[in-house]
Symmetry: C2
Subunit: 207 residues, 2 copies
């Protein structure tokens, strides 16, 4: 008699711990930066061993709910809506995976700019002459994206962009485009031009 109809039916201590701590934070409306009880206190409060508490804390730390610092304590931080495993575990990766992330990034870049038009979001004071294309582009997207009702498009952009930067992906893209071209087209509300540019960028040749 197999029980292949049920997976992970046994809850484990550390899962309970993560649940409790998340509840503690969200119910208590604890602000980011606030210190939470020490591992030993949590161990007493939740009536589990310190080891189990630590396993739970690891999970929350990795999801960016918390940050632990030796000698100081454990602090609440701002959890992202999306986590990219590659951002946590730096491993060897083939170009194909990165291209996939790149296309997702560009999809969200496009959505951010188009929604920026619709919601008439104006971006001023962008002086990035010294910076490279992708840095500037990301700055623009952040200025727009933060003002959108839905900030998840931007979150996904930032998560993928960070990954692509750390894996040094952009250098392998063949394209010739000044950032100003994008910036000016956005300010002039040339929707069609922007769509065209972003499409070309998305379909750019990768070395």
């Amino acid at each position: 008699m197999k029980k292949d109809y049920q997976i992970r039916n046994v809850p484990r201590m550390f899962e309970e711990v993560t649940r409790q701590i998340v509840d503690y934070i969200s119910e208590g409306q604890i602000e980011p930066g606030t210190k939470i009880p020490t591992e030993r206190k949590l161990s007493e409060l939740l009536e589990v061993s310190r080891s189990s508490v630590r396993e739970g804390l690891r999970i929350l730390e990795m999801l960016n709910y918390l940050e632990s610092r030796q000698g100081e304590g454990t602090f609440v931080s701002v959890a992202p809506a999306f986590v990219l495993p590659l951002n946590i575990i730096k491993k060897e990766t083939d170009q194909k995976e990165l291209v996939n992330y790149y296309q997702v990034a560009m999809l969200h870049a496009k959505e951010i700019m188009l929604l920026g038009f619709d919601q008439k979001i104006i971006v001023n004071e962008l002086d990035l002459r010294e910076q490279d294309f992708w840095y500037s582009f990301s700055s623009l997207l952040n200025k727009i994206g933060k003002q959108l009702k839905n900030t998840y498009y931007l979150e996904l952009w930032n998560a993928t962009h960070q990954l692509l930067t750390e894996y040094d992906f952009y250098k392998s893209i063949e394209f010739s485009l000044e950032f100003d071209t994008i910036y000016i087209n956005y300010r002039n509300q040339n929707k069609n031009n922007i769509e065209l540019i972003l499409l070309k960028l998305k379909e750019a040749k990768i070395n």
Copy 2:
């Protein structure tokens, strides 16, 4: 002299453990389902304590690189490209967050269908008369998305869709649409119709 220019400069054991295990898996091209050495063996091999090994394993388990089963062992599994913290830690959530995820989901649904057109992906044998709209819709997207060069759009759809289902979000959407409408329009390659339908769905009223 403060060292605020550097965060997390001290690597911790469990981080080293995760890195090593990931390397072990990817370099050895270990197939999903394969058993990895026991915690005690890993502890000896990596020359760290059992607790540290376990903290590392927790991380990889949560990112779906691994799965541990008591009494059996720890097994390699297929890691996703995106992780949604809400899918791991079930906590109370306000509707606003879910709407954000919903819009991201719809963005990717649209991308999957449009790319499905371009790449002339044909979907047959879809008999879902007994199922509800979202189940059928997701089935269609999966049939198309799996055949795309870039499967990350589908991954993001599935991750968000799973979340929305578990949080029982769809019942709060006001819309009246038969799945057949979408299916027929896709088969007839009515690109404009599809775009229109998906836009309406994305902008649907939420209760």
